[in-house]
């Protein structure tokens, strides 16, 4: 059980607010090409999803390989609502997609008493079963041919700010959860569920709560993603690769931290963009290699690497000061 470093101390709030404001003003003041804007939007969405996964995988220690089920459900519920004869306004559709995914997450209740590998394996089962069932359910998901949403150029530009807003909210929520009693209780459950129950932590309730929150946010992300791509198909939205993506982003960046999934998602989107363009055949293997190296050498991922560098620099500085002071 490693103690998490306080990656996100209160003094980080001001720089964070400045970054969000700067990103919000970026398209207006500096101007971005549609390509860059899309890349930013996708990164914001992936950051939101990775952080929400991290509430389960990092804070609670329940590594889920099945979050694609929630992402897909949110996406398809939102898409169906927007395609309805009386189209629902996009934000309401996304919200309802998130609600649907949150409700669906309640179904994980009996699985949450499984610990460690048993929970992870069960989530693979749920994820794959959902993919098959939703691909089969053509009236809802359009089957293998998927759903096309009407393309709305204005909406696609607006999504930059929607996704940025979602990301900012999820970062703040991650911070609040981490800092509150809820965060401490989750930490206790992660360390030892029986001991946590002994000191009065309602493990069942908090696990359900985090699962629903995580599911709702991932579903919300799925809804925005559906609007962003304007075409979704079950084999992609519910696919195993998508579930893996949530795991990889958090682990690469630093599982259990807040900065970690943010960094991980940025690296993931950039690497994917670069690799799919030039080396599509190396794409999965490279992530596998990264995963192996991180687990063996730096369990806190990029964040841990950064901390290690910072510590080394500080030590060298302290050492230099001592040398100066000693004579």
């Amino acid at each position: 059980m490693t103690r998490w470093p306080a990656i996100f101390p209160p003094r980080a709030a001001i720089p964070f607010a400045l970054v969000v404001v700067a990103l919000a003003l970026l398209p207006v003041l500096v101007g971005v090409t549609p390509y860059e804007r899309n890349l930013f939007t996708l990164t914001f969405l992936m950051i939101s999803g990775a952080l929400a996964w991290n509430w389960m995988g990092g804070y609670l220690g329940q590594v889920s390989f099945g979050h694609a089920a929630l992402f897909g459900l949110g996406g398809f519920v939102a898409a169906r609502l927007m395609l309805h004869a009386n189209p629902t306004p996009a934000p309401i559709a996304w919200f309802l997609g998130g609600v649907a995914a949150g409700i669906f997450s309640l179904g994980a209740h009996p699985m949450l008493r499984l610990r460690g590998p048993y929970f992870s394996i069960a989530t693979i089962g749920v994820g794959e079963a959902s993919r098959l069932l939703f691909t089969y359910w053509e009236e809802f998901t359009g089957g293998a041919s998927g759903l096309s949403l009407p393309i709305d150029i204005g909406m696609k530009a607006l999504l930059y700010w929607w996704a940025l807003g979602l990301m900012a909210l999820v970062v703040v929520a991650s911070f609040l959860i981490r800092r509150s009693t809820l965060g401490l209780q989750l930490l206790a459950i992660k360390a030892d569920v029986d001991a946590a129950a002994d000191v009065g932590v309602n493990a069942t309730f908090y696990q359900d709560l985090v699962m629903v929150l995580s599911g709702a946010v991932v579903g919300l992300t799925g809804g925005l993603y559906a609007s962003f791509f304007a075409f979704i198909e079950p084999s992609d939205m519910f696919g195993f690769d998508r579930s893996i993506a949530f795991v990889l982003m958090s682990v690469i960046g630093g599982v259990g931290t807040i900065l970690g999934p943010v960094l991980g998602a940025i690296v993931f989107v950039l690497l994917r963009q670069f690799l799919l363009a030039s080396y599509p055949q190396l794409y999965l293997g490279l992530y596998g290699l990264l995963l192996i190296l991180i687990i063996l050498f730096e369990p806190l991922g990029l964040t841990g690497l950064g901390l290690r560098v910072a510590r080394a620099v500080r030590r060298r500085r302290a050492g230099a000061r001592r040398v100066v002071a000693s004579p």
Partner: protein, 291 residues
């Protein structure tokens, strides 16, 4: 009625394959307390190795069993010595080992994709389409051979675990690794060999399934999950339990085709996995010590 017999026969034949897939996963979990998520990747590797030996060297898939078993044994030994051994103590059963072995699986998949492309492959021999009559239905010779190997393999495994020094050491390590160090058993060596045997069984299962089904680099994902169903359902270390569990899974899967569209029968295994984990995490026949 004839259809019922047909389905029953094919369920029994399928059960043999499922049991073979599950032994390796169960052995590694029983001794090392590590869920080998790379199991599916090794199954895929075994299938491709058999395919290469058959297509490039012209070796019959059944004659290549020793080579495939030896090669995947060495692969497992390497995986343990280079990677799994270095996991932090106590975290061996936790998310770290899961993620590490998942990374291995991704690398294996990518390697197969680079070497053999993503196309579906199949091992086709001169007797692939031969069938003999059995209980009024026609049964493929290949499927019978797979069943025979699936019966012989656990018998050999049981002999190894019961009658040899190595087997007794493996069982002792599964019970209490610390005490084994006290009486002079090299625990790391036993772990290495166990991991090797576990992956060799996965390789064998891969080779056997390659004679029956087509495969590609993504092959092994649902095989891993089915192995897990069998291991959890059968309880750890019980060879008979594993066989029965494989039979239950195969029967449910095969007969599901009577009540649902064939596309959805693949989901039956996944649903069963979740149900079994939630309802009977100790296995149908109770948890037992290995051997």
């Amino acid at each position: 009625m004839a259809r019922f017999v047909d389905l029953a026969v094919s369920a029994v034949l399928l059960a043999g394959l499922y049991a073979t897939m599950a032994y390796g996963l169960g052995l590694i979990y029983g001794v090392l307390r590590v869920v080998n998520l790379a199991h599916g990747g090794v199954i895929m590797a075994g299938a491709y190795l058999g395919w290469v030996l058959h297509g490039w060297v012209g070796l019959d898939p059944y004659a290549s069993i020793p080579i495939v078993v030896a090669a995947t044994f060495l692969l497992g030994v390497a995986m343990y010595r280079v990677l799994v051994r270095h996991l932090p103590r106590g975290a061996a059963g936790g998310p770290a080992s899961l993620l590490l072995l998942f990374g291995v699986w991704l690398v294996l998949r990518n390697a197969a994709y680079l070497l053999f492309t993503g196309n579906d492959q199949v091992i086709r021999t001169s007797y692939s389409t031969h069938a003999i009559p059995l209980l009024g239905s026609w049964v493929s010779v290949n499927r019978l051979a797979v069943l025979a190997i699936a019966v012989v393999t656990p018998a050999l495994l049981q002999l190894l675990l019961r009658r040899t020094y190595l087997g007794r050491a493996i069982r002792a390590v599964a019970q209490n690794a610390d005490s084994c160090t006290l009486v002079g058993i090299d625990v790391q060596r036993i772990y290495t060999i166990t991991f090797g045997i576990g992956t060799a069984l996965a390789g064998l299962a891969g080779l056997l399934s390659a004679t029956l089904f087509s495969f590609n680099p993504g092959f092994g994902a649902s095989e891993l999950l089915k192995s897990f169903v069998v291991v959890v359902l059968g309880g750890l270390g019980s060879v008979l339990g594993t066989g029965l569990a494989a039979l239950i899974l195969a029967v449910v899967e095969v007969f599901a085709i009577l009540v649902m569209p064939s596309y959805l029968t693949a989901a039956v295994g996944f649903v069963m996995l979740v149900l079994v984990l939630v309802l009977r995490p100790g296995g149908l026949f109770g948890q037992r010590v290995l051997g």
